[in-house]
Amino acid sequence: MVSLCVAQTIAGYIAPVRTDEELMAAYIAGDKAAFRELFKRYTPLLQRAMARDLRRPEEANDLVQQTFLHLHRSRLDFEPGRKLKPWVFTIALNLKREYFRRSKRRHETSLEDDRIAEPFEGPRGQERSDAARETALALRALPAEHREVIELHWFAGLSFPEVAEAVGSTVAAVKVRAHRGYVALRARLGDQAPDPERVSDVKPSPEGSH
């Protein structure tokens, strides 16, 4: 995401922005500021990935904190050359699944539930647009495995290979899930039933295009 990026510092000279992986390596070496920077980068992505299934923002924040606590506990497992983002989301998704198992709640909640129909608000109190709300509702109606892939790609900013790594699947399978989800979403947003043949007879696009 930020590899090879540069940013102008306040002092006016060009300083390289450290990649997520460089920050993680620095944190393992004892740089606490690097952990704060990682938290700053990943919290919005994790909140977006968590919040859509949860009733209250506090629950999402709690899972975000647990994700980072696990990241801290697992820090010595981080290997140089490995991408950080899929690893963080693997931890986050496992924690979310465990949370639902513990609370014995279903991921797929009723669309009639007003609290769910009004998903986690964005910047404090800011109204979401009608289009965003409709899309959020349509997403909720998707099967969990389709929704998960679309949410990770769109709201957490993961590429399809990264999504595949995070969910423990292949790139081809993830693309099929995304395509089926898109077809169903388009049908829902257009208020028409999806053509079952289109949804089921999907072939993944080539591995190279992600």
Binding site: T43, Q65, R101, R102, S159, S209
Partner: protein
């Protein structure tokens, strides 16, 4: 152009276009869906992707407090690399099995059929390694209890099946007595491994996966030790004194889990 670039364009409020896009769409069904019907789906998903939460100092302060509390032996142990945690867990079983084989070997060990010994050692060891591996390594999808039910059933059920296997010639005539001693011997010798598994667990509250895989591995470890220690071939003795240890560990882990959930 690739899929993430197309997504990023939408999120920035732009609708991607141009020859590079056309080239990409020829091989990408997913992005074709996003751009169909005046890019209706791409625009909708972009609108839903907007509105990130700002960085919150309070949230980070809570996390820092949590990290600061990560002190002591357990915090140190569970933050060790997974390869090391796995190796230490396996070594703890090997140590106990080695000690049992060296210090309190079954009286008929010399007559014990080698093929049977190798088979049992192989099956038990494979089960233990599999359970430790699944428990300690961070898999992409940890899975629910249902995903591990086969391994759990195998680990807990195998000693029960072996109880009904034909006994060796020397152990055929033994009675059921001494089952409690064997139970205590096996349970106590696997206690250090259980403590290690608890310390190695990175969850604050053991998950069902941890509970089941730990109990399975501990049950198999105890039965491996007892196979080398006890010469009884009596089915009742084997059921009560050997096979039941895995079930007892399962119950014990449930108690630990329930206690940690309450606390």
């Amino acid at each position: 152009m690739d899929c993430p670039e197309i997504r990023d364009s939408f999120v920035k409020g732009e609708v991607p276009a141009g020859p590079a896009l056309d080239e990409h769409l020829r091989g990408c069904l997913q992005c074709s869906e996003l751009l169909a019907r005046d890019a209706e789906l791409g625009r909708s998903l972009a609108s839903a992707a907007a509105g990130a939460m700002p960085f919150e100092d309070e949230l980070f302060a809570k996390l820092e407090a949590g990290v600061t509390r990560e002190t002591g032996l357990r915090a140190w142990l569970r933050s060790r690399p997974t390869r090391l945690r796995f190796g230490v867990a396996v070594a703890s079983v090997l140590l106990v099995v080695g000690l049992a084989a060296a210090l309190s070997r079954r009286p008929d060990f010399a007559e014990y059929p080698t093929a049977r010994l190798v088979l049992l050692l192989g099956v038990y060891s494979a089960g233990i390694l599999l359970a430790f591996g699944k428990e300690l390594y961070l898999s992409a999808r940890r899975g629910s209890l249902g995903d591990h039910v086969g391994l759990l059933a195998g680990a807990l059920g195998l000693p029960f099946l072996i109880a009904f296997a034909p006994a060796t010639e020397a152990s055929r005539h033994a009675g059921p007595e001494g089952a409690l001693n064997c139970f205590l011997y096996g349970a106590l010798l696997t206690l250090p491994t259980a403590a290690l598994l608890w310390a190695f667990d990175r969850d604050d509250r053991p998950s069902m996966r941890t509970v089941c895989l730990s109990a399975g591995a501990l049950g198999l470890s105890a039965n491996l030790v007892l196979e080398l220690h006890c010469a009884s071939g009596n089915a009742l003795h084997l059921l009560l004194g050997h096979a039941s240890i895995g079930v007892a560990w399962l119950a014990a882990w449930f108690v630990v889990r329930r206690a940690s959930v309450r606390s």
